[in-house]
């Protein structure tokens, strides 16, 4: 294996490999900063550029674009509350509050360090699991997918503690929006009201850009016309990126657990980095000694989401190369790229000479991200200057960049209209205590919930949900998440009453 990795590295680094990867890294970072396009979109857009390249260089380039975009996306997530790439959305939850507290550099340092460590651990896990891949993926079927999706929703509802009712309602509305489009049973249009545009459902990109970027820009414009985002005293101590790196080292438990979560979620096709980062964020918050700090500028929140987001790609590569099942959108685009270059995907990739391609993919997963991390650490701090621009100027500029990004994906003006509508919805949700995160996660998981429900019913019947060990384990986890807290409180109350004390 080591020999294979060394050989792949040499092949990737053969001229003009480094130059090609560097261009890919820069393009990925740039696209990551721009909200709307995203890593997968950018990789797809740049696919034609690779036609003339050697397959191994094409792999390096596509991986560089796809993996670097997350690092670019973290910059805008932290500095202006705009997730450049959907998986960066969880980073905004604590990254942006940190920026508002004058700790932007620390957040950037933590996010970058978390990304790099997550990527390394993701690749290590990938290499460790590669030989037993087939058994793992085959153990998951429709009931397990259904339970995984359900647990994602329940987790988010549980996370909106103090506001669980509105969290659940937000998730419900998100699911209803997700059901718009062709129904998964007959393929007939459903809830489309005669609009051809709605046949594909509400696209995630305009919804995401509107809910997070648009809503924030509306708030920024409305309330902080002449003020900048940062609202700390001039004399206050500004953080350094090194603080973030140190914080990442200190939060090693969060890093390891987030990498595991990211990797496992990545392995399961169709779920992807967005869910990985939110799940990891939720776990970090629940396990933290100071959960009350989450959502208000906890550096562990930034570390958890970015680590999982990058470890996810290691997991996502696994089903892509082993079974030809893309672990996520980015991997789907990569798979198309491999096929274009005559590289076989699926089980035959794991045999004989083709193993060089597997190792090239593994190395290309890691190498460009190291370069991208160095670039972010070198110039990311300077991007903090963005936060000093008055809201009345910054908000319209970012809004237009976001609008163009949304428009560029499909050249559809209706996507822009959707983004604008979701901007106002997100703004109202924020003002009235609803959870935008619950809505967007429900929108992500909606199709998976419905599809896996029907597939389970058709394949296993209702017993499928409770007769398979992994599905049962996940069901128990869901029930514990929902009722564990209240049950524990009830037990404590009963115990306190029995002993004549007062309930805590």
């Amino acid at each position: 294996m080591i020999d294979g990795l060394i050989a792949a590295t040499i092949e990737l680094m053969a001229w003009p490999g480094p130059a090609i990867m560097l261009v890919g890294v820069l393009a990925g970072l740039l696209v990551g900063v721009l909200p709307g396009v995203g890593g997968a979109g950018a990789t797809a857009l740049l696919l034609p550029v690779t036609y003339a390249m050697e397959p191994v260089h094409a792999i390096g380039f596509l991986m560089a674009v796809g993996t670097s975009s997350g690092l670019g996306g973290q910059i805008t997530s932290i500095l202006v509350n705009i997730p450049g790439d959907p998986p960066n959305a969880a980073t905004t939850l604590d990254g942006y509050p940190m920026t508002r507290q004058g700790r932007a550099a620390e957040a950037l340092g933590a996010a970058t360090a978390g990304s790099v460590v997550g990527a390394v651990l993701g690749v290590v896990l990938l290499l460790a699991v590669l030989p037993i891949t087939r058994e793992i993926v085959l153990a998951f079927s429709y009931p397990e997918f259904f339970m995984i999706a359900l647990s994602g929703l329940v987790m988010i509802a549980a996370l909106t503690r103090g506001n669980t009712f509105k969290g659940l309602l937000s998730a419900g509305v998100g699911l209803l929006i997700a059901f718009i489009g062709l129904d998964p049973i007959n393929g007939a249009p459903r809830f489309t009201f005669g609009q051809l545009y709605l046949w594909d459902g509400i696209d995630l990109t305009p919804a995401l850009v509107g809910l997070f970027a648009g809503a924030e820009m509306l708030a920024l414009y409305q309330f902080r016309g002449d003020a900048s985002i940062v609202q700390v005293e001039d004399g206050a101590r500004r953080s350094r990126q090194l603080d973030g790196v140190v914080a990442t080292v200190r939060a090693w438990r969060t890093v390891v657990m987030s990498s595991l979560i990211g990797f496992v979620v990545g392995v399961i096709p169709g779920i992807g980095g967005t869910v990985a980062s939110f799940l990891s964020y939720g776990r970090a918050a629940r396990m933290s000694d100071h959960p009350e700090r989450f959502g208000k500028g906890a550096v562990e929140g930034v570390i958890a989401s970015e680590t999982a987001n990058d470890a996810d790609k290691g997991g996502a590569l696994l089903p892509t190369i082993a079974f030809g099942i893309p672990g996520g959108t980015m991997m789907a685009v990569l798979m198309v790229g491999l096929i274009l270059h005559g590289v076989p995907v699926g089980p035959s990739l794991m045999r004989g000479d083709n193993l060089t391609i597997v190792y090239a993919l593994v190395v290309a997963l890691l190498l460009p991200r190291m370069v991208a991390a160095l670039i972010v650490l070198a110039v990311g701090g300077r991007a903090v200057a963005l936060t000093r621009i008055p809201g009345s100027i910054l908000a319209p500029i970012i809004s237009v960049v976001a609008i163009v990004g949304v428009y560029a994906v499909r050249n559809s003006m209706l996507d822009v209209v959707v983004a604008l509508v979701f901007s106002y919805v997100g703004y109202a949700m924020q003002r009235h205590g609803f959870s935008r995160v619950a809505l967007i996660i429900a929108l992500v998981l909606g199709a998976l919930v419905e599809r896996s429900y029907h597939q389970t019913m058709a394949t296993f019947g209702p017993a499928g949900f409770i007769s398979r060990p992994i599905a049962v384990a996940l069901l128990v986890l869901i029930l514990l998440t929902l009722f564990g807290g209240p049950l524990l409180r009830l037990v404590r109350r009963i115990k306190a009453r029995d002993y004549g004390g007062t309930p805590a």
């Binding site: 996370l159 509105k166 964020y281 009235h432």
Partner: protein, 204 residues
């Protein structure tokens, strides 16, 4: 911990973005016997969401039995929950109101030490003065008008024509500095052209 951490009226905590219970006009759990004020914005938003959920549920009743099962399983409880929320925001009480909980007081006490909550409070206070409330209303109308005019502009002209004009218009109206607005608009357009058209070859 709260992921979204945007508690709003009646949710028991103070946070960024959501209206604070401590502020005037909040329709949270008020002391027993006092008359709750109605947050009209919250009611309008509740109504919009109720209308959407009702539309999905009613439409679902007319589609195939298997295609409607999951939407109905999700839609009916969501609609009922939203109706309950609407009633609560309208001040309709099914149960006797409880006195303010110690948890809320605890959250408020915490909020005094919390920078973000303090900033949220700073954001909300100006709207409580008549002048600031009027300015905020004007700003909302301006933004809504801008969005509608922009979309209309795109359909009437072209995306590439309407977008820079819309950017220049909003900057000029807001900053009242024409030259700065023109420079910022030109710079943004150049950046977008370089990235999307020259670098990414996106057929915008």
């Amino acid at each position: 911990m709260s992921v979204e951490a945007r508690p709003g009226p009646g949710d028991g905590a103070v946070g960024s973005g959501g209206k604070s219970e401590v502020g005037p006009g909040a329709a949270g759990p008020d002391p027993v016997g006092s008359r709750p004020s109605i947050d009209r914005e919250a009611v309008v938003f509740d109504l919009i969401m109720v209308a959407f959920a009702a539309l999905i549920v009613v439409t679902a009743l007319g589609i195939g039995p298997r295609a409607r099962v999951v939407p109905l399983v999700v839609g009916v409880p969501t609609l009922l929950g939203l109706l309950f929320l609407l009633g609560r925001d309208l001040g309709i009480r099914v149960l006797q109101p409880r006195p303010p909980s110690t948890e809320t007081v605890h959250s408020m006490a915490e909020a005094t030490d919390d920078l973000e909550a303090a900033m949220a409070a700073a954001l909300e206070v100006p709207e409580d003065t008549p002048e600031a409330a009027q300015a905020a209303r004007r700003s909302k109308i301006l933004l809504a008008g801008w969005a509608i005019a922009y979309v209309a502009g795109v359909f009437l002209t072209d995306f590439l024509v309407a977008t820079p004009i819309a950017l220049f218009a909003i900057l000029a109206v807001t900053t009242r500095r024409w030259l700065l607005s023109a420079i910022v608009t030109a710079g943004t357009c150049l950046f977008l052209y370089a990235v999307f058209i020259m670098l990414l070859k996106v057929p915008v």
